[in-house]
Amino acid sequence: MWNKRRDEEPPKPYAPPPSPAPVAPSPIQPKKEITPVSSMPMGKFEPQSPAGSASIGKAVKVVGQIYSKEDLYVDGEIEGTVEALEHKLTIGPNGVVHAGVKAREVVALGTIQGNVEAHDKLEIRKDARLVGDIRTARIIIEDGAYFKGSIDIVKPEPAKAAAKPLQAAAAPVSAAPAPPAVAHASAGGPEIKR
């Protein structure tokens, strides 16, 4: 996953996974290895289908920055930052995100420890756990969810929201310091920087 051990292979066109289910660990790599990740050009991860959704399986840990240009489902562990400015980010029930999160829409079923910006909507589902400050236009908190932090309700700014992805795409790789990547996975959409 995430092009691990494929450096020597020629680039292949992206084929979306058959189902949106979380990506299981590859049988070739039963033991999760910690390998440094290299920065990849944005274009290489362009999804072929705009309706596609990337996912990070529950056996995957990502340390670094993730920029996604499609909906992203995270059921694994992330440390760093996650941005899917025009898309929906779902933290699955097994997902543990120690990161600042920015997305159009965020749905939390697992754990988020970090600040969350959801331009459109944030849902904190039953049994989810969110510790951090929230900025969003709308918030839904189900009974049984745990939340600690502040909530700022902000009016959506469509003009700004449209401009931000361009800025993110143009941002240099070294724009922000980040912890070294120890493992990475890709389903086509998100880009991981270290």
């Binding site: 904190i124 918030i139 839904i140 908190i141 189900e142 009974d143 969810a145 745990y146 939340f147 600690k148 932090g149 502040s150 909530i151 700022d152 309700i153």
Partner: protein
């Protein structure tokens, strides 16, 4: 069937003893759950003079920062943010349970644990909040912990800020129900009982005045459900 259940609930701790009286401490808590299966939550609406007073003082101003020490609920978040305020939520009892165990297995008077708890639950800058919804959480704090929490609240609430707290008026209870409070409107609360818990302390008016002696003023509303609603001005 349901009206009878509701009536019996109302005759519980919040509405006086059930028919036949209560013989010993603890029976009251059991009586409250009579006919209530495990996991079932019964919510009741009740008017709240304390809530009315609390919002009377802050509703004409927007952009305030309000701390809610109860469970974060959709109703409270929507109500407060729709008034134009910023809400901070700290699930006080959950953090208390995480720190000291459900039945206070860890001593609440341990200074190190108190510091740790305050850092987890009330680590905010001085004068950060304009108002605090304390609800009923102070009843579960042992004296040393309670003193430390009030000291911290005094620091993080700006002068002239308001706090709303609830205390059971019956000082002979062994177990008291704890609730999720949902704000319905400026004068009405939806109160959902979540279980019962041993209070660390119970208070009368005099002890409450003494407890909040450091604050500018304390105003009581004794409701018919044997619950004191207290407005504290910092």
């Amino acid at each position: 069937m349901l009206p009878d259940k509701l009536k019996s609930l109302l005759r519980g701790p919040r509405g006086g003893p059930p028919p036949g009286g209560i013989d010993k401490p603890g029976a009251l808590g059991r009586a409250l759950f009579a006919g209530k299966s495990a996991g079932e939550t019964i919510a009741l609406e009740r008017s709240s003079r304390g809530l009315e007073e609390f919002f009377r003082d802050i509703r004409d101003t927007s952009g305030l920062t309000i701390l809610d020490l109860g469970v974060a609920t959709q109703q409270n978040v929507s109500f407060i943010t729709n008034l134009g305020h910023r809400l901070c939520a700290a699930d006080f009892l959950q953090i208390l349970n995480d720190t000291f165990g459900l039945d206070d297995t860890v001593d609440q008077s341990n200074p190190g644990q108190i510091d740790y708890f305050l850092k987890q639950a009330l680590d905010f800058p001085e004068g950060h909040f304009d108002a605090v919804l304390i609800w009923d959480v102070l009843e579960y704090l042992a004296p040393a912990m309670l003193a430390a929490v009030l000291e911290r609240l005094h620091q993080i609430v700006r002068p002239k800020g308001y706090m709303l707290a609830f205390f059971h008026a019956d000082d002979k209870l062994e177990l008291v129900p704890f609730y999720t409070f949902r704000i319905q409107n400026l004068t009405t609360l939806n109160v959902a009982q979540q279980g019962r818990r041993r209070p660390a302390q119970l208070f009368n008016n005099r002890s409450l005045e003494k407890l909040f002696g450091k604050f500018e003023s304390v105003k009581f509303f004794l409701t018919r459900e044997r619950l004191r609603e207290v407005i504290i001005k910092a």
